[in-house]
C-alpha cells in the first residue's frame, strides 16, 4: 500500500490524518523556533530530553498505526516502511542498522539539522545536536520493528549537521521502558470537534483552503527526504510532538517555578506568531500561492481571509473569522484545532485557556494583515520580525473560550491597545 493511500481528510474540519493519526504541515522556521522555545523554557539538557521523548511517543503512535494498516510484520519490512514514511513527511532520509538490542542510525539530510545549518550555520556556532525528532523516530522504529515495549530503546544523537559534522549519527541503546500513553487518533480527535461554523467570507476561505489541501496532498519528500516549497522547507509533522513538548514544558514550570509561568506561556504564544509570520507569510508571497489564488492584494480583509484559509490548508483545523474590524478588533474562532484533543486526552479538563499556538497566531494575523505592505514584496527577515513583534505592543490577545477548559468553542479575541 502506498503511503499516500494512508492519508485521510476530515474535510469539514480541515484535519488531516495518516493511518488515522493526525498530522499537520509546519515549516523549518517554526520547527526550529518551537524547539528553541522548549529549550529556553527547560534548559538545553531537559529540553532535549523532553523533545526526544515526545518524538518517540508520537512516532510510536504513527508507526504502530502504519504497520497495522499495511500489514508490515517483519523487522526488515517495518524498518523500510518507517524510513519511507519519515522521508515522505519531509523529515529527511535516514538509514538504520539495528537489532533488538539497538544499533546505529545515520543521515546526511535531516530536516532539522539541514535547515538549522541553512538558516543559522553561517552566523551561529552550535554545540548541541538538533535532531531530537529523528532520534525519537529511530528509537520508535527499532522498538516496533522488533516488537519491543515502549521506551525499550533510547536514541541519542552523537553527530549532527548543525554542529558541522558531515552527517547526523545516532546511537541506539536499551532503555528502561515506561508506560505507554493513550493514543490520540482520529476517533479521539472527533470527540473534541464541534460542528463547523461559517465565518466571514466563508465561501472564499473554504474554496482557497480546499485548493491548498489538494496541493498539499501532492507534497512529499524528495530523494533526500526533504520538501522545498513556498520558499521554505516544509514538513508533515505530528501534533503529538508539538503538544507534548509544549504542555510538558509549561506544566513543569507550573510545578517548579510558578513565577515563570507567564513568561513560559508568552514563549509558547510566540511560536504561533513565528509560524504566521514565516509560514503564512512565505506562503502568501510564494509563486505557488500566486499560481493557485493570484497575487495578494494587501487589503486587510482579503489578507485575513487568506490567513484563515492557509491555517485550514495546513491541517490546523476549522479556524474562522467571526468578527473583524481593521485596526480595532479581531475575533477568531475554532471549531477544531490540533491542540485540544491532545490536551484533553493526556491531561483532562484544563483550568484555564491553553491553546497557546492559536493565541499567538491570531495576534500575528492581526499584525500581518494590518501592517505588512504585501504588494511591495516585503522581505520576511528576522529584523522585520523583531520590528513587527518586539516593538511597542499594538494589540493584545485573549482566549475567551477554550474547549480544553470545557467551553463549547475556542475563541481568540485580539484588541487594539
Amino acid at each position: 500500500m502506498a503511503i499516500e493511500d494512508l492519508r485521510e481528510l476530515l474535510a469539514e474540519q480541515s484535519l488531516t490524518f495518516l493511518a488515522g493519526i493526525p498530522y499537520v504541515y509546519h515549516c523549518h522556521h517554526y520547527n526550529l523556533f518551537h524547539d528553541q522555545t522548549i529549550d529556553d523554557a527547560l534548559g538545553e539538557a531537559e529540553g532535549a530530553r523532553v523533545r526526544t521523548t515526545a518524538a518517540h511517543t508520537a512516532f510510536r503512535e504513527l508507526l504502530g498505526a502504519v504497520f497495522a494498516a499495511t500489514g508490515a510484520t517483519t523487522p526488515a519490512e517495518r524498518i523500510s516502511l518507517a524510513t519511507e514514511v519519515f522521508a515522505w513527511m519531509g523529515q529527511g532520509r535516514i538509514s538504520l542498522d539495528v537489532s533488538s538490542a539497538g544499533g546505529r542510525a545515520r543521515s546526511p539530510s535531516l530536516h532539522y539539522g539541514f535547515a538549522w545549518r541553512e538558516k543559522y550555520g553561517a552566523r551561529v556556532k552550535r554545540d548541541e545536536p538538533t535532531d531530537a525528532v529523528a532520534a525519537g523516530f529511530a528509537a520508535a522504529t527499532c522498538e516496533l520493528a522488533f516488537d519491543l515495549a515502549a521506551d525499550a530503546i533510547t536514541a541519542t544523537e552523537t553527530r549532527c549537521l548543525a554542529t558541522l559534522d558531515p552527517e547526523c549519527e545516532f546511537a541506539l541503546t536499551t532503555g528502561k521502558g515506561h508506560l505507554s500513553r493513550p493514543p490520540v487518533d482520529e476517533a479521539t480527535v472527533r470527540r473534541y470537534v464541534i460542528p463547523p461554523i461559517r465565518g466571514l467570507d466563508e465561501d472564499r476561505v473554504a474554496a482557497i483552503a480546499s485548493g491548498l489541501l489538494e496541493f498539499m496532498r501532492a507534497v512529499q519528500g524528495d530523494e533526500r527526504g526533504l520538501v522545498a516549497a513556498f520558499n521554505v522547507f516544509v514538513t508533515a509533522h505530528l501534533p503529538g510532538y508539538y503538544n507534548e513538548t509544549v504542555y510538558e514544558a509549561v506544566h513543569h514550570i507550573e510545578r517548579t517555578a510558578p513565577a515563570g509561568v507567564a513568561a513560559a506561556e508568552a514563549l509558547m504564544r510566540e511560536a504561533g506568531q513565528v509560524c504566521v509570520f514565516n509560514t503564512f507569510g512565505n506562503v502568501l508571497l510564494s509563486p505557488e500561492w500566486e499560481g493557485l489564488v493570484g497575487p495578494v492584494s494587501g487589503v486587510p480583509t482579503d489578507m485575513m481571509s487568506f490567513c484563515t484559509a492557509i491555517a485550514r490548508g495546513l491541517g490546523f483545523g476549522h479556524w474562522l473569522v467571526h468578527e473583524y474590524e481593521p485596526r480595532k478588533r479581531l475575533v477568531i474562532q475554532a471549531a477544531s484545532n490540533y491542540e485540544v484533543p491532545f490536551y484533553r486526552t493526556r491531561y483532562g479538563v484544563a483550568k484555564k485557556p491553553r491553546s497557546y499556538f492559536v493565541q499567538g497566531a491570531a495576534l500575528a494575523m492581526m499584525l500581518l494583515c494590518e501592517t505588512v505592505k504585501w504588494t511591495e514584496r516585503p522581505q520576511l527577515t528576522n529584523a522585520y520580525y523583531i520590528d513587527l513583534f518586539r516593538g511597542k505592543p499594538r494589540y493584545r490577545v485573549e482566549q475567551t473560550r477554550c474547549v480544553m477548559r470545557g467551553d463549547n468553542l475556542s475563541e481568540y479575541v485580539v484588541d487594539a491597545l
Binding site: 538558516k119 485548493g211 524528495d222 522545498a228 509563486p287 499560481g291 489564488v293 497575487p295
Partner: protein, 144 residues
Amino acid sequence: MPAMSATPALPEPGPAAFRLALTREVTCIRSLAWRTDLPVAIERSETGGGDPDGSAGGAGGRGPPPLRGIDWPRLGAALEAAGLVRRPPVGAMQRFATARGDELSLIPTTGRVQLRVHYTVPEHERRFAAERLFQLLFHALRRP
C-alpha cells in the same frame, strides 16, 4: 532590492523591447530563490519593430499599435527544447526543472518568474546557478 544584473532589451526579431532583471526573491533561505518579471502584455514600438513577421501591423501612423504578450506555450516549448523537464503545474503556475533539480516557475497571468536553485547547491554557487537559469530563460525567449 536593486537588480543583481540586467539584460539589455531583447533585440529584433522578437517581442517588443523590454528589460529583464534578476533579483532575489522574497525568501528567508539564503540565495535559493530568484525572480524576474516578464511583461504580461507588451506594447510594440511605433515602428512595428517588435513584430517578428510583420503580420500584426503596427507601422507608425496607422493607429495605436496592438498589444502583444509573451507567447507562453512557445516559451514552454523552448524551455523543454533546452533540456528542462516540464513538471505538473500548480494552478496557473507552470514549472520546469533541470536535471539537477533547479526550477523555473512561470505564472503567465502575472508575468512572474521564479528561478529556484536546488538546495544542495552550496551557498557561494547559488548566485551563479541562478544566473545560468536566467540565461536559459533569456535564450528561450529569443528562440524563433
